[in-house]
Amino acid sequence: MLKNKGMNLLKRIFRFYYEGFKSMTIGKTLWIIILIKLFVMFAILKVFFFPNILKRNFNTDEERSRYVIEQLTTKPK
């Protein structure tokens, strides 16, 4: 019984969004822009240009701490 109610609610939410998206006019253009933007940001910029340097170069927080302390206490050559 509870499971059926839950399914009905999920169905109603799905239909709410589905019909909403279907009836959009200018919204479709905007969604295309949003999707292209998110793709460029997360699949290109983040992956190829913006690695998290400390996460990429070190495995543990201890290593990261040691590295940052070294950076903060030694002048670059």
Partner: protein, 520 residues
């Protein structure tokens, strides 16, 4: 500082500034327009007048365009933290992480959930639930801004934290001190109210264009009244919170205040410069008059900064040379150290951190305790240890000065504009002169200029600090190749400019089309 790659620092700063400024093109309209729409929909809910529904839906469409183009542009700033500012990202620790995590949750759950109801829910949910959703979108957007601004305020005034030399991170010991620091409260109120004023001018400007064209007259008239009342109230509030912000700057960031006013030599009963031009090439200690010309109000800077017309306001030279009396954050009377003395204490703090690390590696507990004490005693000047020249604590004075005066001047112009608009409507109904309608359209770009100028004051004025007194940009930046930053700078420039052009084109098309029933 000559040891650091200044090209890398400058390109990283330029990239961050570019990203933040473009991001801030989209945000203020979202913050303010959401509330204006909520007021309009409330009138629809109360009166049942279908015209209010049509008006609400029209402005909601423009809100949707701005929201869609602007959404997630701020995430790029977080990318930059991890790549270009990795030392900083680690150093700030949870203090930055906690507010940003709350922001993410709030932004996701509140805005994303209720924005769908706001756009898709007409005739599908009850009028009351729809109205509540619209209000929750407005409140959610503003609460998201709260957490970002709390994080930014902490950088201007690092409260509620202590530095842990074992992890090289700042740790929060009092969340409420971070959240309710006077800088944070003022910054939040001032920043969001600037968004409200911008949105009000946006609505008035577009409505004025309709009146000039003789189109959508009822929509334009009603929108102008709602936006002008909202704009007048919020622009007065903006001035009050601006005063609160300037007061806090005087207490916590005196160099920024000196730069905002072009004040090189401090004085008791310092005047406020209303309009002025700075002497080009002025050095802090050359004795030249800092102003080519100025119109000033006697004693007002002292009064606004310290709530006493005779109070001493330190200038750039005083802050570098020290020796003046001031009240510290605990209310104690102190004599200001010179920049040289602060640099010396900063170096002691940095050396103590290095020695603490060495002592720890050797298991030398006495050495650890000694250096920990030395570090704690000098930590408030930690960042000065990276500077070689006292002059490097002076921000770009002309940029800060002119941005500040443009922002303040426009802020008062907006108050006068809203008063005039409402007065003329009261006097003659909507038989408003065409010049005022044309002026209304001009107000839209002026609102954006004022809004950007405000951020320039806040961020350029606090240079060279990423975290006030504790971490300068030169130490916060990742030691990466500056050419990589240059490439992404231009990439961002292209992406953001494309987005802005897309927004303007879609927005203009939609404004030209005007309101219509149905569709999102």
């Amino acid at each position: 500082m000559e040891h650091f790659d200044l090209s890398l620092v400058n390109w990283s700063r330029a990239q961050f500034a570019l990203t933040a400024m473009y991001h801030w093109v989209f945000v203020p309209l979202t913050l303010g327009l959401a509330f204006i729409i909520a007021f309009m929909e409330t009138l629809y809910y109360k009166t049942g007048d279908e015209e209010w529904k049509r008006i609400t839906k029209f402005w909601m469409t423009l809100f949707g365009i701005n929201f869609a183009i602007g959404v997630a542009t701020g995430i790029i700033l977080e990318f930059e933290f991890g790549t270009n500012w990795s030392n900083y990202s680690w150093f700030v620790g949870d203090i930055f992480g906690a507010p940003l995590a709350i922001e993410g949750i709030m932004a996701f759950f509140m805005e994303s959930t209720f924005i769908a109801v706001m756009f898709f829910g007409w005739n599908k949910v009850s009028k009351k639930f729809h109205l509540i959703s619209t209000w929750l979108v407005a409140i959610g957007a503003n609460l998201s801004a709260l957490w970002i601004l709390v994080a930014n305020a902490w950088m201007q005034y690092p409260a509620g934290m202590f530095f842990n030399p074992d992890t090289a991170r700042n740790e929060m010991h009092n969340f409420w001190e971070v959240l309710f620091s006077p800088i944070a409260i003022n910054k939040f109120l001032h920043t969001v109210s600037s968004g409200y004023v911008l949105a009000a001018l946006f609505v008035v400007g577009i409505s004025a264009w309709y009146l000039l064209k003789g189109r959508n007259v009822l929509l334009a008239k009603r929108s102008i009244i709602i936006a002008s009342v909202f704009g007048l109230i919020t622009s007065v509030f903006l001035a009050l919170t601006g005063d609160g912000s300037a007061y806090q700057v005087a207490q916590k960031q005196p160099m920024k205040l000196a730069a905002m006013e072009g004040l090189y030599e401090g004085k008791e009963g310092a005047p406020l410069i209303v309009v002025g031009a700075l002497t080009p090439g002025k050095e802090y200690n050359d004795g030249k008059d800092p102003y080519l010309f100025r119109i000033q109000i006697p004693k007002l800077l002292s009064f606004l900064g310290y709530r006493s017309g005779d109070a001493f306001v330190p200038g750039v030279k005083d802050i570098i040379e020290g020796g003046y009396n001031y009240t510290d954050k605990d209310g104690n009377q102190k004599v200001a150290l010179s920049a040289e003395q602060k640099i010396e204490r900063g170096r002691i703090a940095i050396q103590a951190l290095a020695d603490y690390k060495n002592a720890k590696e050797k298991g030398d507990t006495i050495g650890m305790a000694y250096n920990r004490k030395l570090l704690d005693e000098n930590f408030e000047y930690f960042g000065y240890g990276y500077l070689n020249d006292p002059k490097s604590i002076i921000p770009n004075v002309p940029l800060t000065f002119y941005s500040f005066h443009i922002m303040v001047g426009l802020g008062f112009l907006f108050i006068a504009f809203f008063i005039l608009m409402l007065y003329l409507i009261y006097l003659r109904g909507f038989l408003i002169n065409k010049w005022l309608l044309r002026l209304s359209i001009l107000m839209i770009p002026l609102a954006y200029i004022a809004s950007q100028a405000g951020w320039i004051v806040a961020e350029v004025g606090r240079q060279p600090w990423v975290i006030q007194d504790v971490l300068p940009t030169v130490a916060a930046v990742s030691r990466i190749d500056s050419s990589a930053v240059q490439v992404t700078f231009f990439l961002f420039f292209i992406i953001f400019t494309t987005l802005l052009i897309a927004e303007l084109r879609i927005m203009f098309t939609q404004i030209k089309k005007g309101p219509k029933e149905g569709g999102n």
